[in-house]
Symmetry: C2
DNA sequence: GTCTATACATCGATAGAC
DNA sequence: GTCTATCGATGTATAGAC
């Protein structure tokens, strides 16, 4: 009756290396859709077409599978940040590249990002045994480093490194938030570039010397 | 034995208009701390020093008390937005005032904002019967109106109304997020002003004609 | 309006066979 | 490694007295 009977002539279930992967995918899908606390282990295992003890074997608890999801997400995220931090060009080009990397990665992993977001801004009690601050810290550190380089090169305004860092991370955050919210319309890559242009060049009209003065 | 015995000579419990208010405060506190789904009705009523049927009398369910919290929050939020939208001055002054209003209101109601945030970005299934988009819609509409006025007056750059709107709401969002996150350090009013300065004036250094050219 | 007591479902996690 | 069967705790919500 179990799904694995089909491939086993003797009717036995050979160890399935796929079970862990299916459990992870199913957990992300259900955590994203219903929220971690509202998700029951029964839903996860049914969606993954395995039984309950299989989950408790591969991960030791319901929290264990959440931590595994966050760890994999953090790994990919840090790789993307490191790639972007090593880019070359002007500070503006490098910051745009960093934002593109982060935004692109988020768009390709919306369900995982939603789960991580819910945990990051979620309840202070019942938190998983996982350091959630890596995301924010690595990203802000990379942004600040590029900005400091740009200030040193005379490309960016001096004296506002901290405020500029916050402005750049604000752009990434607003694009991400709109992407993962079920209520908003996505900003898109063009929108990201447009908003970054605003932040780099400012909102105020330049009062060039003209005939109408 | 019940708390109300103290004020009732005959030992009876007079109808207590305070019960509803205590239930609301307690629910906000526990929803914020543990998350809506992970909160049990028992915890709320214990914290409010009432019994379970009292909650089901004043609100009809666990979801009912969440909706009541969100409705009260939306009411205060819309009042603050309307106040700021009616302000006078340059577009920059009015946008700064709007951001101050929103940020100030959030800072004074961090627990409620955290609950609303968790619901807004929370699971798509099991949503309360409440239109969460009012927050975003009213705020963005107010921002866009001020920006359009500023463009018409020649104060702001033409052609990027949408991107400028996103940039301003990004500043509000990043300040709010840092305020409600248990992991970040608050931006503060000075920080808000600094980031807004960056967005209005741009990050790029102005290359004024100088002796070193 | 507020209480005590409880119905009834579902939860996370495990025991023990294979 | 994966199964069936089940434990004990806890969940929301209500019935009925006062």
């Amino acid at each position: 009756m179990a799904w694995c009977d089909a491939g086993a002539p003797d009717g036995s279930c050979a160890p399935d290396p796929d079970v862990r992967e299916r459990l992870l995918r199913a957990a992300v899908e259900v955590f994203d859709r219903k929220g971690y606390a509202a998700t029951s282990v029964r839903e996860i295992v049914e969606h993954a077409r395995v039984t309950k003890p299989a989950l408790y074997y591969h991960f030791k608890s319901k929290e264990g599978i959440l931590v595994a999801i966050l760890e994999e997400g953090a790994r990919q995220f840090q790789e993307a940040i490191a790639r972007a931090a090593a880019s070359k060009g002007t500070a503006r080009q490098r910051l745009v590249a960093l934002c593109e990397q982060a935004y692109g990665l988020f768009r390709q992993n919306v369900p995982v990002v939603r789960v991580a977001h819910a945990v990051y801004y979620g309840p202070r009690e019942g938190l998983p045994a996982f350091d959630l601050t890596v995301f924010e810290r690595k990203l802000v550190a990379a942004i600040r480093q590029i900005i400091q380089d740009g200030v040193a090169a005379g490309e960016l305004q001096p004296g506002s490194v901290e405020h500029m860092s916050i402005a750049i991370s604000a752009v990434i955050a607003v694009c991400t938030d709109q992407e993962i919210s079920p209520h908003s319309t996505p900003v898109g890559l063009d929108g990201l570039h447009g908003v970054l242009d605003v932040v780099f060049e400012g909102m105020l009209a330049r009062h060039l010397p003209g005939p109408e003065s």
